[in-house]
C-alpha cells in the first residue's frame, strides 16, 4: 500500500478544485449515480452533437477526493470525443482500474495518460475502487439513455 500513490498531486488538485463542476446548459443527455455505502453522488450532463461528438460535459455531485477527482479528470478528457471513442475510453479505464497495469488506448496523449493513471493507486484499496469508477459508470448510463440511477453496489 502506498498512500502517496493514492493521494498524489493530480488527485488532490482535481479533488479540491473539480473541473466542469456545473450543470451544462442545453445538455441533451444526463444520468445520476449513487454509491449508497459511502453516500457519494454524481449527476453527469452531456451535450452530444448530431455527429455524435460530445461538445460539452459536466457534472454535479459530492463525495470523497477520489470520486470528485475521477469525475473531474473524466469530464476534462471526454470533451470533443465522439461516442465510439468515449465508450472505448470508459472500458479501457475500467479495465485499468480493476486489473490491467496500463491503458491500452492509442487516442490519448501523454498528459492525458498521466492524468488517468494517477487514479490507478486505488487498485491497492479495493473498498475505494467504486469511488473512482462511479462517474464512469454514470457516463455510460447517460450515453445509453438509461433511466435507472447507477448504483455502485450493483456493479462489478
Amino acid at each position: 500500500m502506498n498512500l502517496k500513490e493514492l493521494y498524489q498531486e493530480i488527485i488532490l488538485d482535481h479533488g479540491k478544485n473539480p473541473r466542469n463542476l456545473k450543470k451544462s446548459e442545453n445538455f441533451n443527455k444526463d444520468a445520476k449515480g449513487h454509491n449508497p455505502l459511502c453516500g457519494d453522488k454524481v449527476h453527469v450532463f452531456l451535450k452530444i452533437d448530431e455527429d455524435k461528438k460530445i461538445s460539452d460535459i459536466s457534472f454535479e455531485g459530492s463525495g470523497c477526493a477520489i470520486s470528485m477527482a475521477s469525475a473531474s479528470i473524466m469530464t476534462d478528457l471526454m470533451k470533443e470525443k465522439n461516442e465510439k471513442e468515449v465508450k472505448e475510453l470508459i472500458s479501457d479505464f475500467l479495465d485499468m482500474i480493476k486489473h490491467n497495469p496500463e491503458l491500452k488506448s492509442k487516442n490519448l496523449d501523454d498528459n492525458e495518460k498521466t492524468k488517468l493513471m494517477s487514479l490507478s493507486g486505488v487498485k491497492q484499496y479495493p473498498m475505494r475502487v467504486k469511488c473512482a469508477t462511479l462517474a464512469w459508470h454514470t457516463l455510460t448510463s447517460a450515453i445509453n439513455n438509461s433511466q435507472n440511477e447507477t448504483n455502485s453496489e450493483k456493479l462489478d
Binding site: 500500500m1 493521494y7 498531486e9 453522488k41 459530492s62 470523497c64 477526493a65 469511488c131
Partner: protein, 405 residues
C-alpha cells in the same frame, strides 16, 4: 482498572495489522473478542458439541444446560424479572423485526402511529416501515435539538391518541446521546403506550436494569458486547411474549403438531424456532462473565473518562468539528474535517493502523438532518486507552498534511 491487562485479554491486539499496532476505534460497529470467548467456541465444538433441547444423550443435556445458563446470566446482567424474558435471536435487527412483525400483526391497524426518533439506526426504522404498507400505519419522528439529543419534551410533542408504540435508541451511534429512557417509558406508560429500546449501543457500555427502566422491549447485539456474531437478544416483558403471536414457525417452538393444527410451545421456546446459534450463545456466556469480572461501573468510568479526553483532544485540533454535543454522552466521537471527506480520512487513518468508520453509519435520516453526507466516527471499547486517542489525533494531523499540499 488496569486497562493494559484488559487489552492483553484480546488476542487481536497481539498481532500486527498490516505491520501496524492496531488502534481499534470501531467498537460501535463491532467489538473485538476476548480470548475466553474465542476459546469457549473452540472448546464447545471440539469437546462438547451437540444440539440443544432435543435429544436425551449426555452431550445434548449438557449443551442444553450451558445454553440455558447464558439465558440466566443475561437475565441477571440486565436484571430482568424472569429468565424466560430473554429470547435469543440472530441479532438485534431480528429482535426488532420480531417485535415490529408480531406486534404489528396483532395490535396495529390503519392510522396507528409508531413514534421513532431522528437518531434511529436503520434497523429501528426499516422493520416499522414494512407496516406502512402491510397495515397502513404512520411513522413519526421525534426531533433532535442542536446538540444532537432527544429530550423528553421532543418525544411528548409527537405523542397523540394514535401513538401505539415508541421505539427509541438508548444511545445514539452517531452523536453519542444517551436518551432518558426511564423517563420516556414512564411518560409512555402513563398514556398506555409500550416502549421498545434499541439497546445496541447501550448494552455494551451502560449499567442496565430492566425492572428499573421499565421498558417493554430491549434489543441487544451480542457482537458489540465482546461476544460472537450471529447472536442478539430480545428482552421482552413476559406479558408481551405471552400475548404476541410466534414470529417464525419450525422445530423447537411447538407443543403439539397434527394434520388439523398446531399448538405453540411455552416461553422462551415459542420464539426460538429451529436450531439456534448454540455455540455463540454458550460463548456469549463468557462475554457476560468477562464484563462482570471487570464490573460495568468500572467500564462506564473508564469509557466516560476516555470520551472526555477524546473530546478535549479533538476540540483542540482546529480543523476537527465534533458532531453533536450531548450532555449525557456515550463513548462515540463522530467528527468531520474541513475540506476532507470522511472516506479519505478513514483510508489515511487506516494506513497508520487506526480503524474508524466513515459514512452515514446506517443513520441516513440523521445525516440528512445534520446536512452531512457522511461523518467519520471513532468509537471506544473497554480496551481503548488515551494512547489510542493520541494516535487518532496524530493520524488526523497527517490527513491535514496530505490535503494541505
Amino acid at each position: 482498572m488496569m486497562i493494559e491487562n484488559i487489552k492483553k485479554q484480546f488476542p487481536i491486539f497481539s498481532n500486527k495489522v498490516q505491520n501496524n499496532d492496531l488502534v481499534y476505534l470501531d467498537s460501535a460497529n463491532s467489538s473485538q473478542k476476548p480470548q475466553v470467548v474465542v476459546d469457549r467456541i473452540y472448546d464447545f465444538y471440539t469437546k462438547e458439541f451437540s444440539n440443544v433441547g432435543r435429544s436425551v444423550h449426555y452431550l445434548a443435556v449438557a449443551a442444553t444446560n450451558l445454553y440455558e445458563e447464558t439465558r440466566t446470566l443475561m437475565q441477571k446482567y440486565i436484571n430482568a424479572k424472569d429468565p424466560n424474558e430473554i429470547v435469543f435471536t440472530k441479532g438485534a435487527t431480528e429482535a426488532i423485526n420480531l417485535v415490529a412483525n408480531t406486534f404489528g400483526q396483532k395490535f396495529l391497524k390503519e392510522g396507528d402511529e409508531i413514534l421513532l426518533t431522528e437518531l434511529e439506526h436503520h434497523s429501528n426504522y426499516v422493520p416499522w416501515h414494512y407496516l406502512r404498507r402491510s397495515k397502513g400505519i404512520q411513522i413519526k419522528f421525534a426531533e433532535i435539538n442542536s446538540d444532537g439529543e432527544i429530550s423528553l419534551e421532543s418525544i411528548e410533542r409527537q405523542i397523540n391518541r394514535n401513538t401505539k408504540m415508541i421505539a427509541i435508541t438508548h444511545l445514539s451511534n452517531v452523536t453519542g446521546a444517551i436518551l432518558p429512557i426511564k423517563e420516556i417509558t414512564q411518560l409512555a406508560h402513563s398514556k398506555n403506550i409500550p416502549v421498545l429500546v434499541d439497546g445496541c449501543q447501550g448494552a455494551p457500555h451502560l449499567k442496565l436494569d430492566m425492572q428499573d427502566i421499565g421498558c417493554d422491549f430491549y434489543a441487544i447485539s451480542c457482537h458489540k458486547m465482546y461476544g460472537p456474531t450471529g447472536l442478539g437478544i430480545l428482552y421482552a416483558k413476559k406479558k408481551w411474549l405471552e400475548a404476541l403471536p410466534p414470529y417464525q414457525g419450525g422445530g423447537g417452538m411447538i407443543k403439539e403438531v397434527n394434520k388439523e393444527g398446531i399448538t405453540f410451545g411455552d416461553l422462551p421456546n415459542k420464539y426460538e424456532a429451529g436450531t439456534m446459534a448454540t455455540a455463540q450463545v454458550i460463548a456469549f456466556g463468557e462475554s457476560i462473565k468477562f464484563l462482570n469480572k471487570i464490573g460495568i461501573e468500572n467500564i462506564e468510568n473508564h469509557e466516560s473518562e476516555l470520551t472526555k479526553y477524546g473530546e478535549e483532544v479533538l476540540r483542540r485540533n482546529n480543523s476537527v468539528k465534533l458532531v453533536g454535543n450531548p450532555k449525557n454522552k456515550g463513548s462515540v466521537l463522530s467528527f468531520t474535517l474541513d475540506g476532507i471527506h470522511p472516506h479519505d480520512i478513514a483510508t489515511i487513518l487506516d494506513e497508520d493502523g487506526v480503524a474508524i468508520r466513515a459514512g452515514h453509519h446506517c443513520c441516513q435520516i440523521l445525516h440528512d438532518k445534520l446536512g452531512l453526507p457522511a461523518t467519520a466516527r471513532a468509537s471506544l471499547g473497554v480496551y481503548n486507552t488515551k494512547e489510542d486517542i493520541d494516535k487518532l489525533n496524530e493520524s488526523i494531523n497527517k490527513c491535514k498534511d496530505i490535503f494541505s499540499k
